[in-house]
């Protein structure tokens, strides 16, 4: 069993499937040597990459020499465009493109100055030694800068093919040129064989393959001979490089088909030959590589076959890339009419040009100018008869009729499942079809539809991604906003509730102050209380009555206060305390006034004097019975003060409750009232104790003294109030940044404390009563 390389060395060929033998008609153009055409007035260099991966480095009016670079790109695969001749950039505009669609592309139009001056970068040919001294990287850069693309037709950037990721074992130089009419490669092999071999030597050096095959179809014996001589002359290793003649068959020039014929290996679907360790290069590309390396001469011209019955000067021409096809037509004496086709490429794979002013491109190897009777006329498409001829000739081993059905029905996914992507659009199936179905047209439509669909899918994916990102972002923003709102609301609330707190603190401070005062008074009164205990000969009845009166008074005041508080609470929910405070004050004032009036009345009545003293005795239970009118008055003033205080306290208490449950219910009001009552009682007890003090010390006190005492008491109360407010101010600054919950808790605590205090007081009083 021979290895693959041994078989290659023996010249073994494998059979490729399918293929046809169309009339070649190559002799039309390969009888004459390659000629040049006179310069055109203007050249149109299409710049499809500009705006995407490249920028134009010339502007309108600039002078460009022949071979000057026009574009600059950063992309690895970027190929610069070059000026095909010297002249000025006359305009940069959208011009009709050389494409099956006929769509216009952005082009740089150069008006030739007729001198054809070379760019300074182009130099005389280097010697072989100088070329050998260049590094691989320099070689590749030169190839890229020369803008060399595959000249077989696909125009793939050559420098990418020459720097593969994997090891290359076999290089195939493609000189097949299997399509009818075209003889450009044939002629360049005949005339420039040494240069081609030099180019092949550079490729050989860059890729260092184990074998290199120059494959030429056996319908070009002259080319084979020339190449063989050139190979013998060249420095390439004789054992690893050979020229193989391939039997003529269309489309053995296809990359995958050629690999199959030469190695028997099939390039997998979707793979590239480099994955098998194989690289295929066109002979014209090898020539261009040689020019680029030796002379720094960019790819600005190529051999183009101009052929067909509609030209009188059929042959091959060195045509600068960018030459308007109309210029070529005039120079080659085009004799066709307006409706005669101008085909770019061969009869099998070419396309009809829409506009004669389109320029030639790097991949345009042939301009076919057929007479109206030369090619098979377009016939009416008949139904498929399922003859299966197309399947026999398909070089890619596809099922053309199945593909046709699915493409026609626009069932593109099914067409894809029949490997539509592997169709090379060679046109064999169309050629053999007895029903004249333009099969390749259908496949092209299907392919572009599939491509568009894939593009749409990608676009949809992108849109979805962006939509999701946006939605996410909006949600994040919303959440952040809400949090901020919440935070600021909490701050506001805490600011607000700090005033609540203040109220609470105020209440607490008041209670404390009161307690302190009570203690102090109790201390001062301790002596008197002991004494007063001694005077326990008071009448219980009177005591009770006066106590009841005082209680009733306090109750009334409290109820009133609670009622107003209730109203305001129901009206204003949150900002209660501040608004309700003044109301309470008013209430307190009213209560005080009522109390005063009552006290006056009591003072007027001599009996009332008794009761008022009993009022004091009620608490201490130790007031002297024979009290005079003045005392009664004092008691009245005391009562006034009490009422005031009670009212103030009430408001404070209510402030507490308002923060917890703004609309205070009856029960609460009642509780508050009771508390107020108890407080009032206590206050009364204290005051009366005070009085008792004075009274007990000097029983026969005159009016003046009592009055003084009352005023003192009043002043004390006032002072206490002032202190409280100061305290409150302190607490307010401290408690400002407290949040809602805390405030509420504090309020609840304060309430509880207040309640407790009230309870204590009331129990105390009760106790005292007892």
């Amino acid at each position: 069993m021979l290895t693959l390389f041994e078989q290659i060395d023996k010249g073994t060929l494998w059979r490729s499937t399918g293929g046809i033998h169309p009339p070649e008609r190559k002799t039309l153009s390969n009888r004459t040597p390659i000629k040049s055409l006179p310069l055109a007035d203007e050249y149109v260099v299409p710049l499809p990459q500009v705006g995407e991966s490249a920028i134009l480095i010339v502007k309108q009016g600039d002078y460009v020499a022949k071979g000057a670079i026009l574009t600059k790109g950063t992309h690895f695969g970027h190929l610069p465009a070059h000026a095909p001749t010297s002249g000025h950039v006359s305009c940069i505009e959208i011009r009709p493109g050389n494409h099956a669609s006929g769509l216009p592309v952005l082009s740089c139009v150069i008006s030739a100055d007729g001198l054809d001056t070379y760019d300074a970068n182009i130099h005389p040919a280097l010697s072989t030694n100088e070329v050998d001294q260049l590094t691989d990287k320099q070689l590749l850069t030169k190839i890229q800068q020369a803008g060399i693309a595959g000249l077989g037709g696909a125009a793939f950037p050559t420098h990418i093919k020459l720097s593969p990721a994997s090891d290359i074992e076999l290089v195939i130089i493609n000189g097949i040129e299997c399509e009818p009419y075209i003889t450009a490669d044939d002629m360049i092999m005949r005339e420039k064989s040494d240069e081609i071999l030099n180019g092949i030597a550079i490729i050989h050096r860059l890729l260092a393959p184990k074998r290199l095959i120059i494959a030429i179809e056996d319908n070009k014996p002259e080319a084979i001979e020339e190449m063989q001589h050139a190979l013998n002359r060249s420095s390439l290793p004789k054992d690893g490089v050979r020229i193989t003649s391939i039997p003529t068959l269309y489309p053995s020039g296809g990359e995958k088909q050629l690999i199959q014929i030469l190695t028997g290996q099939e390039v997998p679907s979707g793979a590239i030959p480099a994955q098998l360790g194989i690289v295929v290069q066109n002979v014209a590309t090898a020539y261009a590589i040689n020019e680029a390396i030796q002379r720094n001469y960019p790819l600005i011209e190529r051999v183009v076959t101009v052929t067909g019955d509609n030209t009188q000067l059929a042959g091959n021409y060195w045509i600068p890339i960018g030459t308007p096809i109309s210029h070529v037509l005039t120079q080659t004496q085009f004799i066709g009419g307006e409706h005669d086709k101008v085909i770019i490429g061969g009869p099998m794979m070419g396309y009809a040009l829409h506009n004669d002013n389109a320029p030639t491109l790097k991949g345009s190897n042939c301009i076919l100018l057929p007479a109206s009777d030369e090619l098979a006329p377009e016939q009416k498409e008949l139904p498929c008869v399922r003859c299966g001829e197309c399947a026999h000739v398909c070089p890619a081993q596809l099922l053309p009729q199945q593909l046709f059905w699915h493409a026609k029905a626009q069932e593109y996914d099914k067409a894809t499942s029949f490997n539509l992507a592997d169709c090379i659009e060679c046109g064999c199936c169309t050629y053999v079809c007895p029903s004249e179905i333009p099969l390749v047209e259908y496949y092209r439509i299907a392919k572009s539809a599939i491509k568009a669909e894939a593009e749409e899918k990608k676009q949809a994916e992108l849109a979805k991604q962006r939509f999701d990102l946006r939605t996410q972002r909006l949600e994040d923003e919303k959440r952040a906003r809400e949090e901020k709102q919440k935070a600021s609301a909490a701050r506001r609330k805490s600011n607000m509730s700090s005033s609540d707190k203040d109220a609470v603190a105020l209440a607490m401070a008041r209670i404390k102050a009161k307690k302190a005062a009570a203690n102090a008074e109790a201390d001062s009164a301790s002596t008197l209380s002991t004494r007063s205990v001694a005077d326990t000969g008071a009448e219980n009845k009177r005591k009770d009555i006066s106590a009841a009166v005082a209680r009733a008074k306090a109750k009334k005041a409290a109820q009133k206060a609670a009622a107003t508080q209730d109203d305001t609470a129901s009206n204003i929910t949150s900002s209660m305390p501040e608004t309700s405070a003044p109301a309470d004050e008013r209430q307190a004032k009213i209560a005080a006034a009522v109390a005063r009036a009552k006290a006056k009345k009591a003072g007027l009545k001599p009996d009332a004097a008794d009761s008022s003293t009993a009022n004091g005795s009620e608490n201490t239970g130790s007031v002297n019975a024979p009290v005079d009118d003045k005392k009664a008055r004092i008691a009245a003033t005391v009562a006034k003060a009490k009422a005031k205080k009670a009212a103030a306290q009430l408001s404070a208490d209510e402030a507490d409750t308002s923060t917890v449950s703004a609309p205070v219910d009856d029960k609460k009001a009642r509780i508050a009232a009771t508390i107020a009552k108890a407080k009032a009682k206590k206050a009364a007890a204290q005051l009366s104790a005070d009085e008792a003090n004075t009274s007990s010390v000097s029983a026969p006190v005159d009016d003046k003294k009592t009055r003084i005492a009352a005023t003192i008491a009043k002043a004390k109360a006032k002072k206490a109030a002032a202190q409280l407010s100061a305290d409150e101010a302190d607490t307010s600054t401290v408690s400002a940044p407290v949040d809602d919950k805390k405030a509420r808790i504090a309020a609840a605590v304060a309430k509880a404390k207040a309640k407790k205090a009230a309870l204590k007081i009331s129990t105390n009083t009760e106790h005292d009563k007892d």
Binding site: H99, S101, V105, K380, E441, K447, F467, R470
Partner: protein, 189 residues
């Protein structure tokens, strides 16, 4: 007699075994959510334009899964409608929108008329408009889905919806592939 018992025991054991197997599989390979919605959503063009009456493609997919009509997506065109019909298992219906609406368009801002109000930026569902307050805005046409949503909010009406121009890359062979033919009138035999 013992044969019957063996058979019963054997079958019971088998039944138990397979029961356990099925129970395990049901837990292990449980399908979360409704896969149909995801599949339907994958078919929609994701323009998020709201022309279906739902606030995005996913809500519409959910609505189709719940029995809504499949012909409410003008950006998707007839092809999408057919796929949706296929997926949802209903009959294809003609689209509700006119042909004109179905031409793919992208938004362009007449930049010298733009006052920089950012309203279109807020409206764009795919963040394809670039700009900031009081400065000119522009559309990143590659990202534009042609949903039309930015046109309405513009206070100076400076947004145009222009059809996507074809270039060599986006060209579709269909355009000039089929020549017009005159069909001979039927000749009665």
């Amino acid at each position: 007699m013992s044969g019957i018992f063996i058979a019963i025991i054997l079958l019971t054991v088998l039944a138990l075994f397979f029961g356990l197997l099925l129970g395990f599989a049901a837990e292990k390979f449980k399908v979360e959510g409704d896969p149909l919605v995801d599949q339907l959503e994958a078919l929609l063009p994701q323009t998020q334009c709201g022309q279906c009456g739902y606030p995005g493609c996913r809500p519409y997919a959910e609505a189709i899964a719940n029995g809504d009509k499949i012909n409410k997506c003008p950006p998707g065109g007839a092809a999408t409608m057919e796929k949706l019909a296929d997926m949802a298992g209903v009959d294809p219906e003609p689209l509700t929108a006119t042909e004109e609406v179905q031409i793919k368009k992208v938004a362009y801002i007449r930049e010298d008329e733009c006052i920089g109000c950012t309203k279109c930026i807020q409206a764009c569902p795919v963040d394809a408009i670039l700009g900031t307050g009081k400065l000119m805005h522009t559309v990143i046409t590659d990202y534009c889905t042609g949903c039309d949503l930015c046109v309405e909010p513009c206070p100076v009406d400076c947004i145009d919806m222009l059809p996507v121009t074809q270039n060599i890359k986006t060209w579709d062979w269909k355009l000039n592939a089929i020549p017009v033919k005159t069909i001979d009138e039927d000749v009665k035999c």
